[in-house]
């Protein structure tokens, strides 16, 4: 598609100082393109949760985005411990976060469920001891909404 725009943000594990910066930059890109606010809102939720997962659980990772007139797609790839049981990780309230992370208000077991709820499709590929890749997208137009998808 001619009007496509792509970019990548690099994420560092345990770097809470810059946590949210990638999602914030992505939001700026979407706002500049004039994407509807409700779409931006949904993508901000999903991107932030994915970004925080890398910062909390992984050594490092990257967030790649591609925006067209039709959809926003995000790939978040990390070098981390992998997810032993994806179904369990998708269960609201389940978390493997440490007490310290929980005291900060993270690790409530809502991250992956929030991503799934906010997007039109979520795919998780994970290899134990190597890392996890999340791919998700939100459709922008063509009359297809979350409810119909």
């Amino acid at each position: 598609m001619s009007n496509a725009e792509e970019g990548v943000f690099f994420l560092t594990g345990k770097d809470f100082t810059n946590a949210g910066a990638a999602s914030s930059s992505l939001k700026d890109v979407l706002e500049r393109r004039g994407i509807p606010r409700d779409i931006i809102r949904r993508m901000a939720i999903a991107a932030f949760e994915a970004e925080m997962n890398v910062i909390i659980y992984a050594v490092a990772g990257m967030m790649k985005y591609r925006v067209t007139d039709r959809e926003i797609s995000i790939t978040v790839q990390d070098m981390g411990q992998g997810i032993p049981d994806i179904e369990l990780a998708m269960t609201e309230g389940y978390s493997t976060a440490t007490d310290q992370i929980r005291e900060m208000g993270f690790g409530s077991g809502m991250g992956l469920p929030n991503i799934k709820k906010s997007t039109d499709n979520l795919t998780i590929n994970t290899v134990i001891g190597e890392g996890t890749t999340l791919e998700f997208f939100i459709r922008i137009r063509d009359g297809i909404t979350t409810e119909q998808a």
């Binding site: 809470f16 999602s23 932030f48 993270f106 809502m110 929030n114």
Partner: protein
């Protein structure tokens, strides 16, 4: 209702003095879980929490919240305030507990949308 009126009514201490308080507050949300706020707070809401680390600013900014009120006299970290100014998110503090503070916000007419 704007943020200044809430600050006045509840005698909140404004920790980001250079940020304007004339912004509309269209609702309220209470949570100390960041994912709960990300998933459920409505844009324009004021957020009541006891979290004081700088990631609360990223959450408020991404969600388009109108401000953050910290309860129980919890004092925000210096880097939290610095980030709040950069992101234009007003931070206020109160000696009240969450229960007391939210009760007063509700009495002012604020609701969770």
């Amino acid at each position: 209702m704007n943020l200044q009126e809430i600050v006045n009514s509840l005698s909140l201490e404004v920790r980001t003095p250079n940020l304007g308080l004339d912004r509309d507050v269209t609702g309220g949300y209470v949570s100390d879980l960041l994912s709960d706020v990300m998933g459920n707070a409505a844009e324009g809401s004021v957020w009541v929490t006891l979290q004081i680390h700088l990631n609360i600013v990223a959450v408020a900014s991404l969600k388009g919240l109108s401000g953050i009120i910290l309860v129980n006299n919890r004092i925000p970290d210096a880097d939290t305030l610095k980030r709040a100014v950069e992101e234009d998110i007003p931070i206020m503090t109160s000696p009240l507990s969450t229960f007391e503070l939210v009760g007063r916000l509700y009495a002012l007419g604020l609701r969770c949308r």
